[in-house]
């Protein structure tokens, strides 16, 4: 964890969680954190603690669901999974993300 790392941009954490769950199916909190760090190649700094409020929020909004189960090493853990509504929401949000970042990139004169 060096100084070069960037904070996860506001609003993108939700999207990363949803995408992770879409790819891997049911997963516990630590697994999600590991996965996000892996795919971001440790370029993004994920305060792992911020993951849990986000999970609670997403579950409250009905985008993900959770149940208690047993992890690979035999511990009790809460597993999260994407709901159909969450999947729809994610697709819309990704389109939006692409559109907005595209517009901003264009405005900043950065070609992609």
């Amino acid at each position: 964890m060096g100084e070069k790392q960037t904070e996860v941009p506001y609003g993108s954490l939700d999207l990363l969680i949803l995408k992770t769950l879409e790819g891997l199916g049911s997963l516990h909190g630590w697994g999600i954190a590991r996965r996000i760090e892996q795919v971001c190649d440790s370029m993004l700094q994920l305060g792992q603690g911020t993951l849990y409020p986000a999970l609670v929020r997403l579950e409250q909004d009905g985008l993900i669901k959770s149940k208690w189960g047993t992890s690979d090493n035999g511990r009790r853990a809460r597993f999260y999974a994407l709901t159909p509504r969450g999947a729809r929401h994610m697709r819309v949000e990704i389109e939006e993300w692409v559109r907005v970042t595209g517009v901003i990139a264009a405005a900043l004169g950065v070609s992609r």
């Binding site: 964890m1 516990h28 909190g29 630590w30 954190a33 590991r34 305060g47 792992q48 603690g49 911020t50 849990y52 409020p53 986000a54 999970l55 609670v56 929020r57 409250q60 909004d61 009905g62 992890s71 090493n73 511990r75 009790r76 853990a77 809460r78």
Partner: protein
Amino acid sequence: MTAGGVARRLLGSLRRRRAEVELEEEIGFHLAMETEENIRRGLPPERARRAAERSFGRRGHAVDDAHRARGLPWLDDVAADAGLALRTLRRAPGFSVAVILLVALGIGANAAVFTVVDGVLLRPLPYPRPDQLALLQQFRAGETNMTHDGRTVLDLERWNDQTQTVAAIGPTAGVNLVRDSLALHVRAQPVSRRYLEVMGVGPERGRGFEQTDERAGAAPVVILGHDLARRIGGDLVGQRLVLSGVSHTVAGVLPRGFRMFPPADLLIPLHLGLEANGTNYTVIGRLRGGDGTATQRLAAATAALHQAGSVDREIGLRWTSLRDDLSELRRPTLLLLFGAVGLVLLIACANVAGLLLIKAQRRAAELAVRSALGAGPGRLVRQLLTEGMVYALAGGLVGIGLAHVALVGLLRLAPSDLTDWGLGIDGRVLLFSLGLTILTGVACALAPAVRASRVDLRQAVTGGASGVAASAPRSRWRRGLLVGQVALCTLLLLGAGLLTRTLVELRRVDPGFHAGSIVAMTMSPDQSDSSLQIFYARALAEAGQVPGVRRIALTSGVPGRRVLNLPLEVPGTDAPLRAINWRYVSPGYFEMLGIELESGRFLGDRDSAGAQPVTVVNRAFARLYFPDGEPIGRQVRIARFAPEDADPPRTIVGVVGDTRDVGLTGDPEPSIYVAVAQVPPGLFAVAHRFFDMCWLIDTDLSPAIAANRLGGVFRSLQPGVPFSEVTSLEDVLGAHMAGERFLAWLLAAFALAALCIAITGIYGLTAYSVSQRSREIAIRMALGASPGRVLRGILGEAVVVAVVGVVVGLAAAWPLGPVLRRFLRGAASFDPATSAAVAAVLLSAAVLASLVPATRAARIDPVTNLRQG
């Protein structure tokens, strides 16, 4: 946020503890996994754990953020506020008890009165589709008369079809019910066979009345009310019991909870053919076709009745909804009480608001600090509102308890027609009380909350309690609230004063007889033959020997109550046939009651069965039939009777003073009296079909003891006849004032409560003002003000508040005068003496209430006080 989202979050707020435990477990799992991962990467265990914790970040933040995401933040704030309020409530128990009691008083009184208002005026009657039920009224040129004679009622049977069902109801009669060793006096209600169909119920067991039951000579049957059937016990359908000395078969039992109209214990068939005489029938209908159809049909039916000559052409008919008819009498009374009790709550609210203002002021520094630490004005207002609500809810809870007690007292004072409704505190009343409690909470906390939102930070924090002028604008609010309390209190005191005056005037009305020490005991004689004469003669003789009984007399109806009226002819005058009050009395009746003798003589022992048939008439009768002539020696006779009931023509032998039998106001009604020994058996039957006979006992014994002693004598002569009622004649007369007394007592109680609240308010204001201004007072005294001057200054403050309040109250009473007028029985709604008395009471109350704190102020020692500062 969607509704579902709100619901999930609400659940989230409520399930906070469980969610937190789960989250802790989840975080524990996370850290364990991360630590293992770090160990696998080659870190020693201790460093691996620390690294895991570092990359997780602050655990507390995660938990808090998660909770905020999970629940409704404002709900948690409110919960925190309520917790804070509960803590402050516990910290100042005296203050809290005062506030809670004030609110409880207001809510309790309102809940009790609302119970009556709801039961009598608002709640639908306990019958299916009660809106379809209506009573048929006769009216002639402005005056209404609900009752009908038999000819109308016979024709009404033909009105029944799909759009309406009509039934006739006879007069309720007291009868003796005997089964085995059980002897009860019960109310019997004669009804025509469609009565249950009209009311919309069927018998729970057995059958209803059929056409055959109504025929002359049919085997007597009875339908028992549920309560009566349970009291007798056993499955009674098909069984026999004795009513008025005649064996009846129980045809059916009514379902539980069905309330007969009019209130009664059992139903018997109405024999229309036999009872065509006398206007004693009520007609009730279920009108299914709506108002238009009913009116149309009524017009046609009235025309038919006119044509057949059953009803005079000047008489019209109309339907009045049963609900209106039942509540009409008490509607104004109840609405007035509801208004008055609302004023009490308003006064209590103003008082509590004043107390909360004082409290908020004491906490000005705390509120300022909270505000400086970032609590927005909205947050502070919410805190004060929550606090007000906590007080209100606690008060409301205590208030419901108070309402239970108040309702018992209220119903004890209430006229009997109000107690017949089976009133009790139920869900509707609780809901009303809850709404009222919430309103009260908001109303009480509003003034302090508004003030708090405008708190001046710097002054509040730095000035503290030492600021001399700081309290000026705030005490203006409190003074305003206090003026309002005094004004409302003036209104209530005025109302109570005027009604009390009316009650006093009513008590002064001469009923025409001395109720004095007389106990009245009523009975429904079963027999109507000569054996009744024998029983009467023996009972009078033996009861006269009972210790404690000075004199005894009997009559066909309780003096001071409605009695039987019979159509009377006066041969030799052209006066039209009219119904005249008719009583039989035993010798000594007039002397015992102290009824005046105008001319001629009273009835006495010489008026025996064999002697010349005679009668005594009252002054109103003499004035009606013989305005110029001499009534003594003239004859009267009962008209329109079947031969077996025939009464001989009677000679008038005396004129006596009028007695008031139907009320204390209005003109006395014409009446005649006959000697009991001269009553033919048939007339006994007529007299006691509707009215119980009455024993009058001049005694110092209590009614209960007198009944006990005489009951033994009577039972030895004739077993199985219970007294139906035992009361003092004073109470009989009192019943005429029941409505006025109810209103006067309740208004007096409300006014007293209001006065107490206002006094504590004035005391509170003055005491607080003295404690706030002790420094200023000390300076003044140091500069030479005398204690007397300080005392006068403080008292003056309270008196000014009271004077302004009284003036505002009197001014407000002016337009309200007409509302009261109808309750005052002709007395003026503005009475200078009452107004002056009310003003005097309030001013002296204000002086008394502020005397203690004012004396304390005058005793301030300037040296000590200023040194402490």
